[in-house]
Amino acid sequence: MEPRIGTRNAKSMFFKGIIVFFAFLIALPLIIVLLYIVKQGITQVNWTFLTHTPAPVGEKGGGILNALLGSFILVMVAAVVAIPVGIAAGIYLSENPNTKLSYWAGLCVDILQAIPSIVVGIVVYFWLVKPLHTFSALSGSAALCLMMLPIVIRSTEQTLLLLPPSLKEAALSLGVPYHRVMLKVIIPCGFAGILSGITLSIARVIGETAPLLFTAFGSPFISASLTKPMESLPHVIFTYATSPYDDWHDLAWGASFILLVFVLTLNIVTKLLTRKWKIQL
């Protein structure tokens, strides 16, 4: 016999309670982590911190300027390559959905997205570090570039698929050549969507440490040379966090705070951009 409606309703309410509880409990670790990083980090951040290189152990002061500049250069070089290639591949995938190449390229995007970041590090080590006999910023950028590509490609592809086909047809029927239709009509129309993919990909790779361990490696000096090792924010956090010195831990908290601010800002920008475009990234 079915239980009475009272018990069934009570059961329904009970499970709703459990689900609401578990769903909102997830906010707890996030809030704790964020508050802790802000509390530890914000006191470290001042002008010296942002404009000096790290001080030797035991000395007060010192900052993370080398890591800030390094992260900036690494991500910029990666983006300069990943954005055009990614957009081109995204256009190809959305324009030719049924060719053999697009099937394989689509599969490769999925694979690229799935590769553990540490494996990307190993591979780039053999492509760029071993032949050049030195850790270099160039190899670090190459690793980050590989990690950015799938996000840029997928966001471009999905944005372009959302555009009404009449847009392209109208432009083509006016006699506009294909490349101008793409560059002057289709890409500007989907610009916000593509841009959101770019900001999101930068937000993802700016915190990546694993692929940089064997590529950009890290260095205590400010350098703009792409063929020398280069420091980056996540790598500086890793080395200082695992060191035994309290001064270095403080530097790492400050660096974590800065990294967190970057990542959160980029994510909020992405959110604002995707508000108009209902794309799933």
Binding site: V20, A105, L112, I118, H179, G207, A241, A252, S256, K271
Partner: protein, 309 residues
Amino acid sequence: MLCITNPLFVENKRLQLSNSQLKWETFFKRLLIAAGAILVLVIIGILLTLIVESVPSIKASGFGFIWGKVWDPVENIYGAYPFLIGTLLTSFIALIISIPFSYSIAIYLGEYNQKGWLSDLLKNTVELIAAVPSIIYGFWGIFVLVPLIRDWEIKLHILPYGIGIFTASLILAVMIIPYGASLGITLIRMTPSPLKEGAYALGATRWEVIRKVIMPYTRSGLFAGVLLSLGRALGETMAVTMLIGNTSAIPTSIFAPGNTMASVIANEFTEADHPQYLSALIELGLALFLVTVVINLIGKRIITKATHR
């Protein structure tokens, strides 16, 4: 094409213009094809690099590599079994912890509360969890979670390492929740409403609709979400490296320190001085690559099937 090649029309300026445009058009199309081809080449290159570089290790230890219980670089003995166990333990414990959370979030945002500020707030929270870099979770874990776990272990009379497989799994669980949850939300929202309405009309309560209509309908999709989070957990490196303790011994309990495949690569790659040592680490990378790629591709296949019916 015909009129452009016709000499009679070559004088015509507009046609000359369109001729150059045509060249650009072909060039642009080739550029797009090249971008697609680069992707395929990159993946083939990655696979080849991993295979070629791990050949010395495969030759030296063969299939014994997977089941070898000793990892001793000094004696040049390489067995991946301890790391295999470490990886499986951390990933599956993290998965088990994360499933109630990701399912609850998926059901709450997919069914109970689909719109409104509260739903948006929770959805953004879940996305933020995925956005925080793993190095920050690891750093926080070392200084907050490890002492906490150590206190618990002292109370429970276990060897108080603090770091170890369980600690790493806890952080890993938090990190993978968003992957299962965000997919679940989309799929649960896709349940056709006539099905739900039919069940309500028959007098089902809300929980019964969820349990007997929505869950069976979205089961394969939710499973795909679990697969994707598993793929994420297997390859996650930094947070685990910082919290798992890094010993090459086979872990004796879930509170003992250990090592995962990813963390051993991160720790030992730059100090691997012997060619076979390096090659053994790359073989670990190759295995990791194959496993995560297969898991992800199966997951993606299930999702495509679930969303296109």
